[in-house]
């Protein structure tokens, strides 16, 4: 394998975010610091402590325009989001959606690693449990299994796009989306596929959010001012805002992309995935700081870049007490003190925490910031956290244009003490 074959680039993007239903809308929302967080009457009705959420709005029309009636009847929320993002990504990469009955359409060189953190929770809660408890098993029909099987989200994409390479669903809590990108990178590098649709999806349902609300990790104090509820890096951060959506990235070998003259957004330089082993402060719900630092360092060396080349960090930064620890972990891992620290921001300040989709949607934001040369604001941290005062100058409170950023690192850390970190470089043809 030549060195060129091992290079992997991004040739397509698709996103269904709480503040934008496609890449163009999403980019504009990021640039303008437009929030996707709204008051959620249902959470109010069901007596959640947190009553704000970040949900893609009014997607019914998009679904009807893109999918057959049979498909619509068979897909649950997470699958609809995934399918919409993947179809946009597929077209953005320069392909046409094939006919469902065209047996010649199968693309053996494209696969998918498309994850979900929680999966088909609303199908279980709204259909499986009630019908089984009422002894009405046969009323479940044919679609319950394909909606609750973890791999349902990626399998669905294969059906719509006729993907013939590896099609799988990964699940690593809040690091799922970033992990999917890295897994796709590895597969293409290994020469086992030319293209992988990588991403993550998470449904909008109170049944997912209830457990987090019970843990008191959701934002509870900003129910009357939704746009202020997601406050990463601030002294007043009091939990994350639950979100939903999907992001899809077409990763492709540079060889394949060059051969077909594809538009390239960025190069995926490298990435690292690890786990803190639930030791040294790590647990099911907290990261081992040593694991975090190691993951960032490994991502650097795997990307063959040095810490001083990093211009921008898209942090995990959920708006909990873990934010300051994360920033300091970045500083130690990169060996860059506050006075020499890269720009750091939280996309979650605008779209909340989309759980299994977060790494994918935030990777798309990171790539767009390189490709279109801007930095989106990290909002709601006027009152920077006392432990982060030294880093204040690195946090963009307002959007910036023409910064000439070249390399961004994106990290996601999840329950289970799992970490994923990836780096992207702006593409210069």
């Amino acid at each position: 394998m030549t060195s060129q074959e091992k290079r992997v680039v991004v040739t397509g993007l698709g996103v269904l975010a709480p503040n934008g239903h496609n890449v163009q809308e999403f980019e504009s929302a990021l640039r303008n610091g437009r929030t996707g967080i709204r008051h959620n009457p249902e959470m109010d009705e069901f007596k959640f402590s947190c009553q704000v959420a970040a949900i893609p709005q009014g997607i019914e029309e998009l679904c009807v325009a893109n999918f057959s009636e049979e498909l619509l009847m068979s897909m649950n929320c997470a699958q609809r989001y995934a399918a919409l993002a993947a179809v946009e990504c597929w077209r953005d990469a320069g392909f046409e959606v094939p006919s469902e009955t065209d047996d010649e359409a199968i693309d053996w060189e494209t696969g998918a690693v498309f994850g979900t953190g929680i999966g088909g929770m609303e199908t279980i809660a709204e259909r499986v449990a009630p019908l089984v408890n009422e002894r009405k098993i046969r009323r479940l029909g044919s679609t319950a299994v394909e909606q609750v099987m973890a791999s349902g989200v990626s399998a669905r994409l294969s059906g719509i796009l006729a993907l013939g390479n590896q099609v799988t669903t990964n699940s690593s809590a809040c690091s799922t989306g970033t992990e999917a990108v890295i897994e796709g990178l590895y597969r293409i590098r290994a020469g086992r596929s030319s293209r992988m649709i990588c991403g993550g999806t998470e449904a909008a349902t109170r049944y997912i959010w209830a457990g987090f609300d019970a843990m008191r990790v959701l934002a509870r104090k900003w129910n009357d001012s939704p746009s202020k509820a997601s406050r990463p890096l601030s002294a007043s951060a009091g939990g994350f805002v639950p979100g939903a959506g999907a992001g899809a990235l077409m990763l492709e070998s540079l060889e394949s992309a060059s051969k077909r003259g594809a538009r390239i957004y960025a190069e995926v330089l490298g990435g690292s995935i690890n786990c803190g082993g639930h030791r040294s402060g790590g647990s099911m719900t907290a990261p081992n700081p040593l694991g975090v630092e190691r993951c960032i360092k490994e991502a650097l060396s795997e990307s063959k870049i040095t810490a001083d080349q990093v211009d921008l960090i898209s942090g995990h930064l959920t708006a909990t007490g873990a934010d300051p620890k994360e920033v300091w972990a970045w500083s130690r891992a990169l060996g860059r003190p506050a006075e020499d620290f890269p720009t750091i921001l939280s996309t979650k300040s605008l779209i909340g925490h989309t759980l299994g989709a977060a790494g994918a949607i935030e990777s798309i934001a990171a790539i767009l910031m390189l490709h279109s040369d801007f930095v989106h604001p990290s909002v709601n941290c006027e009152d920077v956290h006392p432990d982060l005062v030294a880093f204040e100058g690195s946090i963009p409170r307002k959007a910036k244009e023409n910064e000439g950023n070249d390399i961004v690192m994106k990290a996601s850390f999840g329950f289970g003490d799992v970490n994923a970190c990836v780096s992207f470089q702006r593409w210069q043809a």
């Binding site: 009636e69 049979e70 009955t101 029909g141």
Partner: protein, 82 residues
């Protein structure tokens, strides 16, 4: 309800599942659901549930096994409705 009316409703219920539009255009009692209309066999259980809801009947599993054509559906529904 006449058999013609049942036929019309059966076609309406089957339509979203049909993969062969040509076969749908010339649909008749003899049209085979799986072979001609290319309906995914797994979806037959959803079709049967839709028949039950539409015609307010209950269809026994063993009766479903003998259904192959659109005409089979119509006569099964007419018979069950009594």
């Amino acid at each position: 309800m006449s058999e013609e009316q049942i036929f019309e409703q059966v076609v309406k219920i089957l339509t979203p599942y049909v993969k062969d539009e040509k076969a749908l255009a010339s649909i008749s009692g003899e049209t085979n659901i799986l072979e001609d209309l290319k309906v995914n066999s797994a979806r037959l259980v959803d079709v049967v549930l839709a028949f039950e809801d539409e015609f307010d009947i209950e269809i026994a599993d063993e009766d479903v096994d003998s259904v192959n054509t659109v005409g089979d559906c119509v006569s099964l529904i007419a018979r069950t409705k009594g």
